[in-house]
């Protein structure tokens, strides 16, 4: 019997192909299409009109307004208004307006299942692989094609298997794992699926598994994937999803053909920081040197989920942000904000001096509040520090975990958080 990777199994099912091997081009039926206000209706609607086509199946579409929220000028208000109108006109019932960032909202609402083929109109779409789905990012024209036909052509990817063993030390988290991988595996793993496994992965909570798949985008991967286990199913059920144990079948065969297998020791990992202007420009946090910061930013799907807010609060409780630093917190979802408000997390953050921003993609992509001026230095829990992404082209963005961002906000310079955790 031929053995297959998880990615191959999903593409075989979705394309109806009896057998696939990496490099094959398949035409697959899409189980779910997710788009947001930036790459969504404002761009796909004219294309659909040009085609004279309707959405192939409104029940298989999830729409999220997260990029231009809340509106700050007439242009962004018009984009949001158009998004709402399009959702209504096209019968999109799974429309999440200002409820949080699309990738987080998808999982909070149990829209994803192991084994699904999902396309997302956003580059961080590999996030969906955290539950064992195959989710790829596409652009708006491609999305219009999917909406019109329900199909997409895909090249069956090689799978790079990344094994993590050992236990993360206190103050070290999934973000540090990914910053280290961006350095060690590079950013040009294009056209590959990256599958994470091993004892470290098994012990990680779902929100941390999400970070691994999410930042697979920074490795250049087509998809990031983690095979489902009991924890995956429990999370889907807790979010209101109906799923039975047969979903556990969605895993790679152990004798499947992997492009390569690389192993890492989580026990030896220290907090990591990526210096400007690349997520792969990574060193241990205590090797950065004395970098004075103007802003500390906790935001984005990568770095402002409830678990991330908890990490920040663990550092900030009873401390104050350095006088020359502004600490901005933009929670990744409304639900994270609500829970963090109820459990005292937001109180700890704001007492330390954090400024609370609206939930949404915010300053991560330079769209929302918190962008940087000429020459300013920021440490951020987001995923990307490309030149000019968060504001002025001369601004400098360092990437770190929520622990590291919070500790740096207190110290006033980029710092290893372990000194502040007891």
């Amino acid at each position: 019997m031929t053995a297959y990777t998880l990615a191959e199994k999903i593409l075989m099912r979705a394309s109806g192909a009896g057998s696939v091997r990496d490099g094959d081009i398949v035409v697959a039926k899409v189980d779910l299409a997710m788009m947001h206000d930036s790459g969504g209706p404002r761009r796909v609607a004219p294309y659909l009109q040009q085609l004279g086509a309707k959405v192939w199946n409104p029940d298989k579409v999830v729409l999220v307004s997260d990029h231009y929220v809340p509106a700050v000028d007439p242009q962004s208000a018009a984009i949001l208004s158009l998004t709402r109108r399009w959702a209504q006109e096209n019968g999109i019932t799974r429309f999440h307006d200002m409820q949080g960032i699309c990738h987080v909202v998808l999982q909070e609402n149990a829209h994803l299942r192991p084994g699904m083929l999902v396309v997302g109109g956003d580059s961080h779409s590999p996030s969906g692989g955290a539950v064992g789905a195959f989710m790829v990012g596409i652009g708006a024209t491609e999305m219009a094609g999917v909406l019109a036909t329900g199909e997409i052509w895909l090249r069956v990817p090689e799978t790079l298997r990344v094994k993590w063993t050992g236990q993360l030390a206190a103050g070290v988290c999934a973000k540090d794992m990914m910053l280290a991988l961006c350095r060690d595996l590079g950013q040009n793993n294009d056209y590959k699926a990256i599958e994470y496994y091993g004892s470290t992965i098994t012990s990680l909570p779902m929100a941390e598994r999400f970070v691994l798949c999410n930042m697979s985008a920074e490795l250049g991967a087509k998809a990031g994937m983690i095979a489902p286990d009991e924890k995956t199913l429990a999370e889907i059920r807790a979010n209101g999803g109906d799923i039975d144990d047969s979903a556990l079948q969605w895993r790679s065969d152990e004798d499947a053909e992997f492009e390569r297998v690389v192993e890492f020791d989580a026990g030896r990992l220290a907090p990591q920081v990526a210096a400007p202007h690349s997520p792969g420009n990574t060193v241990a946090a205590d090797q950065v040197g004395r970098v004075r910061i103007d802003q500390a930013y906790i935001g984005a799907c990568t770095g402002a989920k409830l678990t991330d807010l908890h990490m920040a609060a663990q550092v900030l409780r009873g401390r104050k942000v350095a006088p020359h630093v502004r600490l901005l917190v933009a929670p990744a979802s409304l639900r994270a904000t609500q829970i963090a408000a109820a459990d005292g997390t937001l109180a700890a953050l704001t007492a330390a001096g954090a400024i609370l921003l609206p939930t949404g993609c915010g300053a991560c992509a330079g769209y929302g509040a918190g962008v940087l001026a000429e020459g300013e230095v920021c440490i951020s829990s987001t995923a990307r520090n490309f030149k000019g992404r968060m504001g002025h082209p001369t601004s400098q963005v360092y990437l770190g975990s929520p622990f590291t961002v919070a500790a740096s906000a207190v110290a006033g310079y980029v710092t290893d958080p372990r000194a502040l955790l007891h």
Partner: protein, 170 residues
């Protein structure tokens, strides 16, 4: 797209590795109309580019061209400015698809590092050949696969689908 896929001609604009989508389509310009957005294309590393690029010119770049966001304005801005094709050691996956879908040819070009800014090139994306007319050299590049050449010849995915729909529903 402009011209024949087997005979594209223009000057080379040479860039390095990991030219990301924020450089091609900066966030601050993303809510603006394309004609304004395109004027900011690559401004952070080459302020002259948008003003000086001419119809048919090539982008020649290294690894990770178009890494980052799925925003297709990154490819659309280049097409709007008249770029004839992108030849990169390793084009990023989403950028590759976006460009083809918008009618902008892209190909893998392992010898990209041998091209100098301003070199005059003739490119055959059907057979995978790059002729450097300035240096008088010839190089291989990856041909554009047949099924994607159909998309490019139609002018992109939407006109391609339009033709398909039109055939199905006469």
């Amino acid at each position: 797209m402009r011209g024949n896929l087997n005979d594209l001609r223009g000057r080379a604009w040479v860039f390095g590795n990991n030219i990301d989508t924020d450089l091609l389509a900066p966030g601050h310009a993303m809510r603006k109309p394309l004609e304004e957005l395109a004027q900011h294309c690559l401004e952070a590393i080459d302020p002259q580019f948008a003003r000086s690029v001419r119809k048919g010119d090539f982008i020649v770049a290294g690894e990770g061209f178009g890494i980052g966001s799925s925003r297709e304005q990154a490819a659309q801005a280049l097409a709007y400015l008249g770029v004839g094709a992108v030849l990169a050691t390793a084009p990023a996956r989403i950028f590759y698809r976006n460009a083809i879908n918008l009618g902008l040819p892209v190909a893998r070009f392992p010898d990209a590092h041998l091209v100098r800014a301003g070199d005059s090139l003739a490119v055959d994306l059907v057979h995978g050949r790059v002729y450097n007319l300035t240096q008088d050299t010839e190089h291989d590049c990856e041909p554009v696969p047949e099924f994607l050449r159909d998309v490019l010849r139609a002018g992109g995915l939407i006109p391609h689908l339009h033709a398909r729909f039109h055939r199905q529903q006469p």
